[in-house]
């Protein structure tokens, strides 16, 4: 079965090409079928391969062809399959399939139906290449490929310039990280002589000592790529804007799969990161800082999709925290559960937006509980998982992260405390969303509840969000063995109770109103904090001043080519001379003759001079 894995990315790719070629002529039914079934086929294949693998867990590698060979640089178009790959592939194809199905209804009215599915299929293909790649260069191909698809899909409704702006921001900001990553690739190849991930980690282990500078630099460069793609500080600003795309796209790309690529990258190259404890610490700190920053921001947003976007940033921060403290399995586990419940939440919000005439503001919604029961329950379950209430999938993964953070030798308890604060905030803002949107009085009337193509994915994802925590992901072979240590019981109890406290707080503030925080909010500090958090801690504003505007100004100055001015000077000098000479061309015969005679005298004088000297 294993030798079929190359078909997994190929099928969506072919479907995407077909859709592009036939965008003008294919009937909508065929387009939908093609788009959904190709991913479905990929999912089935993944399932088959996965079952095979679980029966005989032997990682294998498969080279299709040598991509390029120059000297000893010979990356292949080659896939590597192990437990981690299987988890990622399952998430991508599984969740991807559900979101495709959801899209067929969500995008039904859109004129560019075929283009949408072409892009979406291409994304799935690129994402699969990313996670299946055997070497970092092919991974980079997938990495850039998903970036482009994200760009295309965020800017899908291209007639609106703001969407284009958001799409470009997404691409360029991640590109900054990608460039760092590319430099990391260059460094790794130059130092280790290969980009083949498994071989590379082997060589690195032989060549480098723990704590060397080179692995630290390499890891930081790779981390640059990861923070760009996974929207972590300081390159997170693109993700909230990226919500301009269709909501299923946000679910698939900006929640479930692409944004977690950074997590995947770090997990995949864990061998390198283990050589650079400083880099690990930085990963953990970035993760924690991002998760807190984003959680505070999410608390202040009113756009339903922006809340979810910041929540995504925050949750990926948790994953980074997990990676940073060496809780590899927990990180990947959270990646998977997050994919389930965040896709669920996004699809739910998609359903709301779809049936509420593209309304994004949560304060204009309300009381949707009875009108849209499927969506309501989706949101309930999703939020519960997001808030990590016990027995949901999010609980299992987040709990593990927090416990392992506590065990981190250097700053464990502090990391744990930070994580707890994040968890508290998460619970508050996620239920704030639920209470505001689904309870209270109705402010708008939805057109109805979801049709089956929307409902089915929601239901399936609900199930996954509930039971996903019981899955055992087959990544034991991939990562170094965890210590098996366990923190004191009280740590566990606190970790469990904090989300519940958050839920309670949220209930008291946003639903029953028993806890009035208006006074706090309306104080001048409160107002200031509110604005500050609402604007995402002013980071966008800062970047605008530091990078964007100077770049525009620079290009404005340069528009007329300063270098050309130098050549212009040469031209001007020539023209001046020309002018002088032209002046002498008076057109008067006698003037010419006189100058001829003058020249004659001059030449004769010179000749005489020379002959006199010769004598």
């Amino acid at each position: 079965m294993g030798d079929m894995i190359w078909l997994v990315p190929l099928i969506p790719m072919l479907s995407s090409i077909l859709l592009m070629l036939g965008s003008g002529s294919l009937p909508r039914v065929i387009i939908g079928l093609l788009g959904v079934c190709s991913v479905g086929a990929a999912a089935v294949l993944t399932l088959l391969v996965g079952l095979d693998f679980l029966a005989n867990p032997q990682p294998f590698q498969m080279t299709l062809w040598t991509w390029m060979q120059v000297g000893n640089f010979s990356p292949g178009i080659a896939f590597y399959f192990d437990g981690l790959t299987l988890v990622m592939m399952s998430v991508i194809t599984g969740v991807g399939f559900l979101i495709h199905l959801f899209s067929t209804e969500f995008m039904e009215e859109d004129v560019s139906y075929a283009r949408y599915f072409a892009y979406l299929n291409m994304f799935v293909a690129a994402m699969l290449v990313l996670v299946m790649a055997d070497n970092l260069l092919l991974l980079y191909l997938g990495w850039e490929g998903v970036g482009v698809c994200s760009y295309l899909l965020v800017g899908f409704w291209y007639q609106n310039s703001a969407n284009g702006q958001a799409a470009r921001k997404a691409f360029v900001v991640t590109r900054i990280g990608d460039t760092a990553m590319a430099l990391g690739l260059l460094l790794l190849f130059t130092q280790l002589g290969t980009l083949d991930i498994q071989a590379m980690m082997g060589v690195a282990n032989e060549q480098w000592q723990v704590g060397d500078t080179l692995p630290l630099i390499a890891c930081l460069l790779l981390l640059g790529g990861a923070v760009g793609k996974s929207a972590q500080l300081p390159l997170h600003t693109w993700l909230p804007d990226a919500m301009a795309g269709p909501t299923p796209v946000s679910a698939l790309i900006h929640a479930a799969t692409m944004v977690t690529a950074g997590v995947y990258l770090i997990a995949r190259t864990n061998g390198l990161f283990l050589l650079a404890p400083t880099a690990m610490m930085i990963v953990a700190l970035i993760g924690l800082a991002t998760s807190l920053m984003a959680a505070f921001t999410a608390l202040m947003q009113s756009d339903i999709k922006r809340i979810l976007a910041y929540s995504t940033i925050s949750q990926i921060g948790y994953m980074f925290l997990a990676l940073g403290v060496g809780a590899w399995t927990a990180g990947i586990f959270h990646l998977m559960t997050h994919a389930f419940f965040k896709a669920l939440l996004f699809l739910g919000s998609g359903a709301i937006i779809h049936y509420l005439h593209h309304e994004h503001d949560i304060f204009k919604m309300g009381g949707l509980r009875s009108k849209m029961p499927v969506t309501f329950w989706s949101f309930m379950i999703g939020s519960a998982a997001l808030a990590a209430l016990p027995m949901t999938s999010g609980f299992f993964s987040k709990d593990q992260i927090l416990l392992q953070a506590y065990l981190q030798p250097d700053a464990g308890p502090w990391l744990w405390l930070g994580g707890l604060l994040g968890a508290l905030l998460t619970a508050i803002y996620s239920f704030r969303l639920v209470f505001v949107v689904f309870f209270g009085e109705a402010k708008t009337q939805p057109d109805g509840d979801t049709g089956w193509r929307m409902a089915l994915p929601l239901v399936v994802l609900c199930g996954l969000a509930m039971v996903g925590g019981y899955f055992i992901i087959p990544v034991a072979e991939v990562f170094p063995v965890a210590s098996g240590e366990h923190p004191a019981n009280w740590v566990e109890y606190v970790s469990i109770s904090v989300p519940l406290m958050g839920l309670l707080l949220s209930y008291l503030i946003f639903h029953s109103g028993q806890l009035n925080v208006d006074k706090l909010v309306n104080s001048s500090l409160g107002q200031w904090l509110r604005r500050f958090w609402h604007s995402g801690w002013g980071i966008d504003w800062l970047y605008d001043r530091i990078f964007v505007r100077p770049y525009y100004r620079l290009s404005g100055i340069m528009v007329n080519e300063p270098i050309d001015a130098i050549y212009g000077l040469i031209v001007a000098i020539n023209q001046t001379f020309n002018h002088w000479l032209a002046e002498s061309q008076t057109g008067r015969m006698r003037w010419y003759i006189a100058s001829m005679v003058f020249g004659l005298i001059l030449v004769l004088t010179l000749a005489l001079q020379i002959s006199a000297e010769a004598l």
């Binding site: 000297g71 007639q159 310039s161 360029v172 590319a182 430099l183 190849f189 340069m558 130098i566």
Partner: protein, 505 residues
């Protein structure tokens, strides 16, 4: 003789194309297309019988018979000038690129030439003939001759069929290249003189002039002569200012040839002549050259971003891309050189295509100003998709040829200087910025209300065919570049061996 025939076919074809206008306005372009196809078919049929091209011998500088083809006939024996043509992997690549892009160029200006059809196609064919000569000549005098031959018809193409400011652009192009060509001629003559005083023999042959012993100072100056001639053509910062004007004003076919092929003669010259003839001087100079290359990458990208003229933007992107070539050449190791060669080929396709799109837009909208465009995707989805593809290629999307090129260059360069690499890598970011703004301003964004009832026609069969050829080529280069790499590999190998002995004492 094959190589002489290749050039002659194009020269004569030009004459026929010019005369054929009497038979009708539509005839010359057909003649031109047939001539180029014929040339290509002839070359391929001659190559057919050769030992497999993927197992090329390394061409030895002291043994012409190891080259793929070699031709030598006396011309002016008194000065040791001969008609010496030779073909190795890189030349062959460039010749093939020239012929393919030549055919594409004819197709590109199938409809946009309004006057003097015959003379236009003749100029096009003559330029191609000159370019082929440049890629094959190994006699430095002959090389200079072809260098001029490709220049003059190009001048006419800009000056006669160009856009509104064509006179200025054509003159600027001419003066820049002519002045730099003069430097090259002087350097060539001086080199021959030096060689004469060392060996007592007059010779312009590349094989004889390699390894000319000369004082360090002389080598520096002569190398500089060649270097400037080639980087003006390339063009590298700060000698690039002719390019935006020439590109912008040239007719579509002119831009395609200019960007796709003519620029490559500069890069080819650097690889073939400037470095091997003066390896030590080039080594000393490499830091300056690489700094110029990196500066060009960033400068071109920033300038490209600030343009509002579609063609000008693409032109500046060429400056940026050619910076990578300069970096690759002067990093002078196998990875970087392969990258440079790859970039020459890939950039040929991607930029040519963008210029064709610009030409098509100009034909339909009668403007190149992107402020007058916007939302064109709605009316011309096929063109939009094609444009998107080439924009992505231009920003270096992995899986397409340009990425392979840029990555190899950076990989090779990193071994020489991580810091310059870091600066050049900024080009990846700035490249994304200008590429996407191009897309945003023209095809995306709010549809311009002025264009709503323009009745814009989307790409039709001929244009789609041309574009498909280039798209397939770029994807092929991006996913399986090995044939190209294999063709160039033996040549680069021998160049590296040849220069390393002296360069590293």
């Amino acid at each position: 003789m094959v190589m002489v025939n290749l050039i002659l076919i194009l020269l004569l074809g030009g004459v026929i194309a010019m005369l054929s206008e009497r038979a009708g306005e539509n005839i010359p372009r057909r003649v031109a297309l047939v001539v180029i196809m014929l040339d290509l078919a002839y070359l391929l049929s001659e190559l057919w019988g050769m030992p497999s091209l993927t197992q090329l011998q390394a061409p030895m500088p002291d043994d012409p018979s190891t080259w793929l083809m070699h031709f030598k006939a006396q011309w002016i024996p008194a000065f040791g000038i001969s008609i010496e043509l030779a073909l190795d992997g890189i030349s062959l690549l460039m010749v093939l690129l020239t012929l393919v892009l030549g055919a594409i160029a004819v197709s590109a200006s199938w409809t946009d030439i309004a006057v003097k059809h015959g003379f236009f196609e003749a100029n096009l064919l003559w330029t191609l003939a000159g370019v082929l000569g440049v890629f094959m000549a190994l006699d430095l005098f002959l090389f200079f001759l072809f260098w001029e031959v490709m220049l003059i018809p190009m001048y006419f193409m800009i000056a006669i069929w160009g856009h509104e400011n064509r006179g200025y652009a054509a003159m600027k192009f001419f003066i820049f290249t002519q002045a730099s060509g003069l430097l090259m001629l002087v350097a060539t003559l001086a080199l021959v003189k030096v060689n004469h005083s060392a060996t007592g023999q007059w010779s312009f042959s590349y094989f004889d002039l390699l390894n000319t012993p000369m004082p360090e100072q002389t080598a520096h100056w002569l190398m500089l002569g060649f270097f400037i001639a080639f980087v003006v053509k390339l063009p590298a910062f700060p000698f690039h200012t002719w390019l935006p004007d020439a590109h912008t004003q040239a007719p579509t076919a002119g831009s395609v040839i200019l960007a796709g092929i003519l620029l490559k003669t500069g890069a080819y010259g650097l690889i073939r002549f400037a470095v091997p003839l003066f390896p030590e001087a080039a080594l000393d100079f490499s830091w300056t050259a690489m700094a110029l290359g990196a500066a060009g990458v960033v400068y071109g990208a920033v300038l490209a971003f600030s343009q509002s003229d579609f063609k000008r933007l693409v032109a500046y992107s060429s400056v940026s891309h050619m910076g990578f070539v300069l970096l690759g050449v002067y990093a002078w190791n196998e990875l970087a050189l392969q990258g440079a060669v790859m970039q020459m080929v890939a950039h040929g396709f991607s930029t040519a295509a963008l210029f064709m799109i610009a030409g098509s837009l100009q034909e339909r909208l009668h403007t190149r100003d992107m402020r007058e465009m916007g939302g064109l995707w709605q009316q011309m989805p096929r063109m939009g998709a094609v444009a998107m593809f080439f924009v992505l290629a231009s920003l270096g999307l992995p899986g397409l040829g340009n990425f392979v090129a840029e990555f190899l260059v950076l990989l090779g360069l990193f071994q020489i200087s991580p810091w310059i690499t870091a600066v050049a890598a900024l080009g990846l970011i700035t490249g994304a910025i200008y590429s996407l703004i191009l897309m945003q301003k023209s095809f995306q964004g709010e549809p311009n209300p002025k264009l709503q009832d323009h009745g814009l026609v989307d790409f039709a069969g001929r244009e789609m065919l041309t574009m498909t050829v280039m798209m397939v080529a770029l994807i092929g280069l991006g996913l399986y570049p090995q044939p190209v790499l294999d063709m160039a590999q033996p040549v680069l190998q021998s160049l590296l061996e040849m220069t390393s002995v002296e360069a590293m004492p």
